[in-house]
Amino acid sequence: MGPLAIDTRLGDLQPEFWQAAGETLVMATTALLLGGLLGLALGLGLYLTRKGGLYANRPVQVVLNVAVNFFRPIPFVIFVAALQPLARVVVGTGIGTPAATFAIVVAATFGISRIVEQNLVTVSPGVIEAARAMGASRSRITFTVLVPEALGPLVLGYTFAFVAIVDMTAIAGVVAGGGLGSFAQRFGFRQFDDVVMWASILVLVAFVMVIQLGGNLLARKVLRR
């Protein structure tokens, strides 16, 4: 090492660094895919069971709303710990990347469901009515009219949700979930190694930016159809 070398262990920590980056990638993409799908389902449920909705059903509507309103505001740092017992049942372990991913998927599902619901509300009820007047079934209307009509804003909503998901991956350390967030904390923040910390931050930011850019491009393409 030369005389100008900055005091950092980033070089030695390279394997751990890339492993942490990989863990973040796995947690975030799994959460986006699974949480995205489940959130879509829950969001559709919230929207469709509303008064005047295609599947209007007051009791179901109340149950879904109460569930979402209860779980969504819980701070993730507490949520991930509280969900440990359930994680043991579902993914077989209460710690590590699987348990953290499980918690993120659940939290993302609740968060995304509201985003989905809000975007579905913007679809003109007249378009739904027209589809009904043409004799389309409710499920056909849901998947070939409702969702496509809301697709542009939905893509933007999912892009927005992804940032929140990456935020959650940084807290996975609570259950030893790993990822760049806890890596930055353990080897950067606690060891006063700014280089390690900023390297982690840069990778996280790049990660979010790539997704954001992709989401914006996709949304524009969808909206321009």
Binding site: A133, M134, S137, V145
Partner: protein, 352 residues
């Protein structure tokens, strides 16, 4: 034109009997709202039947009962021999495939092109993709949008959107077309074009049209028969020409007054009196055969001078009729004799 069409056909295409639609109050405990209150209506196959009324009269609710987008509270709705009030969901979907619907706000799918919008009802009706092409291109030609097949909906003008809306409604070759304020979002020129298109749908394709509007001019242009709605009830109905010629209900009179100068209003009469003397009578020319010159010649023969002070000649569905208010001057007895003599020729009323 189709004056005696209704008489020719005995089976109505749509028949409403004692139809009631009640909406529950917005909150628990609020009084229920009677949007449609005991309506009886027959729409004959082949005609253009208009329902006119002010906003909130219950027109949209009524038309949505015909394709059962809303269930009735009581009464029966029979379309093409089928009571739609007893149909299960699956039967309803089939029924709706045989009824086209056109909307004020067009209600096209922005996520699809014009082509995609027209393909939707065909796909719903189970028509395979390879057979859709020809039908879609026929439809586009019929509505004059052959060059817009691959346009995005958001790039179309209001009139073009409504043409797509009409093409979409015709896609599955329905017998009945429901049009809820189909021209109310359009400017006057475009309105005329779209009404012409609807008239063509009726004339060339033989499709029965049940049309809703709050504009009497729409009725004047294309409706064969009309029902006037107020407060959920049909307050008057009949042939369009008859309603224009001789409106009975106050609401009908107000609607007719928006396109036809019927009787001058009280303040107009007062103003006319300041400028004209004599006796004011309104002549209602109804029969095509009655020549105005005959009536006027009678006045002249009795030495009664006349001056046209109000009114005009109107045309509804190819029938012209006049509502002319005259100021008659001359010997009082002569005026009486002249009016008695024209009585068999033309209906007249004193304008007080």
């Amino acid at each position: 034109m189709t004056e005696d069409l209704a008489a020719q056909l005995d089976e109505p295409l749509v028949e409403l009997r004692g139809v009631v639609k009640e909406f529950p109050g917005a909150r628990r405990g609020d009084a229920a709202h009677l949007a449609v209150d005991g309506v009886d209506l027959r729409v004959e196959a082949g005609e253009i039947f208009a329902i006119i009324g002010y906003s909130g009269a219950g027109k949209s609710t009524l038309v949505r009962l015909v394709n059962a987008l809303e269930p009735v509270t009581s009464g029966s709705v029979v379309v093409d021999g089928v009571d739609v009030t007893t149909l299960p969901e699956k039967g309803l979907r089939e029924l709706r495939r045989g009824i086209g619907m056109v909307f004020q706000q067009f209600n096209l799918m922005e996520s699809r092109t014009v082509w995609g919008n027209l393909a939707f009802p065909l796909t719903v009706a189970g028509i395979p993709r390879r057979d859709q092409q020809q039908r879609i291109s026929e439809l586009l030609h019929f509505v004059g949008l052959a060059d817009k097949a691959h346009a995005r909906v958001s790039d179309l003008s209001g009139g073009q959107k409504q043409r797509v809306g009409i093409a979409r409604a015709l896609a599955t070759e329905p017998r009945l077309l429901l049009a809820d304020e189909a021209t109310s979002a359009l400017d006057p020129d475009t309105t005329r074009d779209v009404l012409d298109l609807l008239a063509r749908v009726n004339r060339e394709l033989g499709i029965t049209i049940l049309l809703i509007t709050h504009e009497m001019d729409v009725v004047r242009r294309i409706a064969h028969r009309v029902a006037v709605m107020e407060g959920g009830k049909v307050v008057e109905q009949g042939r369009a020409v008859d309603l224009f010629a001789d409106p009975q209900h106050p609401v009908t009179k107000r609607f007719v007054g928006t396109v036809v100068d019927d009787l001058p209003a009280a303040d107009v009469v007062a103003a006319l009196r300041e400028r004209h003397e004599g006796r004011f009578v309104r002549l209602a020319f109804r029969q095509q055969e009655v020549r105005q010159s005959e009536v006027f010649a009678t006045f002249l023969r009795h030495d009664v001078a006349f001056e046209l002070v109000y009114g005009g000649i109107e045309e509804v569905q190819g029938t012209t009729f006049g509502n002319l208010t005259l100021a008659l001057t001359g010997d009082a007895a002569a005026v009486d004799r002249a009016l008695a003599e024209v009585r068999p020729l033309v209906e007249w009323t004193e304008v007080a």
